[in-house]
Symmetry: C2
Amino acid sequence: MSFLQACRCEPVERTPVWFMRQAGRSLPEYRALRRDGDILDAVRTPEIAVELTLQPVRRYGVDAAILFSDIVVPLVGVGVDIKVLPGRGPVLDPPFRDASDLDRLRPLEPESDLAPVLETARLLAGELDVPLIGFAGAPFTLASYLIEGGPSRNFARTKALMHAEPTLWHRLCSALADIALATLRAEVGAGAGAVQLFDSWAGSLSRPEYLRYALPYSRTILDGLRDVGVPRIHFGVGTGELLDLMAQAGADVVGIDWRVSLPDASARVGEGIALQGNLDPALCLAPPEVVEAATREVLAEAKTLPGHVFNLGHGVLPDTDPGVLQAVVDLVHEETAR
Amino acid sequence: MSFLQACRCEPVERTPVWFMRQAGRSLPEYRALRRDGDILDAVRTPEIAVELTLQPVRRYGVDAAILFSDIVVPLVGVGVDIKVLPGRGPVLDPPFRDASDLDRLRPLEPESDLAPVLETARLLAGELDVPLIGFAGAPFTLASYLIEGGPSRNFARTKALMHAEPTLWHRLCSALADIALATLRAEVGAGAGAVQLFDSWAGSLSRPEYLRYALPYSRTILDGLRDVGVPRIHFGVGTGELLDLMAQAGADVVGIDWRVSLPDASARVGEGIALQGNLDPALCLAPPEVVEAATREVLAEAKTLPGHVFNLGHGVLPDTDPGVLQAVVDLVHEETAR
């Protein structure tokens, strides 16, 4: 259980490693099982979702599994008509525009709204010998999909709404925080041993924006998990300017990308917080010797951390050769064995 | 000439302001003149390019004009078959892959290869009563278009090449640096009073990558302009972790985005360096009172800077209401008048 120990800044036998999007299109067995089917159908079918969750654990020997799902699944669960398009991501038409759209969100009732996901978690708990990570989307990142109607480069509508209609923004993000918290508590109840809060796009915000419009709602979620006792990982991309705040939101582990070195990031998040990261997933498409050198560099930088979970700085890219990731797992395990 | 004075950290009568992509689709007069034509055709037609450059100066009363061109124009000038697709950006097929592709770049002969651009600059010098900014793409950012074949989210091929084939990378970026330097020197010779080096995507690099694979080539360009005596602006998006290095590359002004506050950025770039920025262009799509508050916030943060050029943190978004930008210009001028 070196994964949970590292998250808690406790001594480990070796550095744990897992990969964001380890269950994904980079795996031939994943493509064979998923084919062209809707990802939401796969999430809703526990025997498929269990198998997709297990595939990378079986193949790589990673130290944690992550529930096969998507951050929009709880929103779909409460009736929001989101589709997840291959190569594009979540889309919603019409997107959220005004207070009337709040009616499109009702409180989550996990046992019914997330029944297949929780069934998947329960089945996995019986099969896995590594911890299962549950996850949810943070309110800012989820709100951006609802308001933009899909992935965005500049989040212009989302930012306009948060600044121009802070009361509506507050109601929206409070509802999203409640849904995310209910999701994560239910996943832990069903067997998840850790949780990750994805605020993937928070790095697009200024510090004042993050402080006012994102942090309070992420804190609701992370604080609301304190009594559950599982490690809480808080992740975003390009968040170098926000790392102290992301830690203050209530994280045990902060996930970082390759833009910040691990020692710098550790100084920013403060004492007693573990780090997760930070190999550049783009480098995993380079020749093996480049990946090996970059992996060794991450391990060298991690030596002074109170706790380190090896991961990529963002999700596995679909074109990644699984053999490359296998070599990373093996190298991390070999080099850090005590 | 408050723009040049601000760039040089000299006292100004009022804070100068211009906008990246101020000549662009947000202006109805731009859309009327450009219609669906190829942007490269417009760049190659001096009377059109002059008019497009002048439009925002005339409309807004900004304190600088920027030559209507594109960072790929010098590459097209030496014969690289790049197209610029509306809504997509520069594309190249086949992209650069190996050493044989270096033959696709020859040294730039500005007077012939950039004849229309230089003619545009000369015509503008006779018409403008504000400084003209010439510009070029930095080697990393240009190389990324050549290697990816278009815009990229993760720059995986570019990063693979720089790490796996550093000698090829060196030859490619040395050639690109020579082309950019020749471009900028010629533009200054034709009347540009300042230059901006766009390393728009440098923020995707780690510090070690930037140090090894980007900075030396940008330094070649910026150092190579020292004797020319015009202010050198160095800009990228999401470059908070790199600001000290971007200044060290030889900039008089560093352009920053909204992710870093102006005082923080000033501490990072060091003494005697002016800053350009940093209003979030996404906020310009919010209601006027939001834009006004955000503009005042930038001005308040700028008070302690040695030199400040007001700008956005990235280019004007096409959906921006020109009236909003006019209000920003007027507010900056009013609030900072000495």
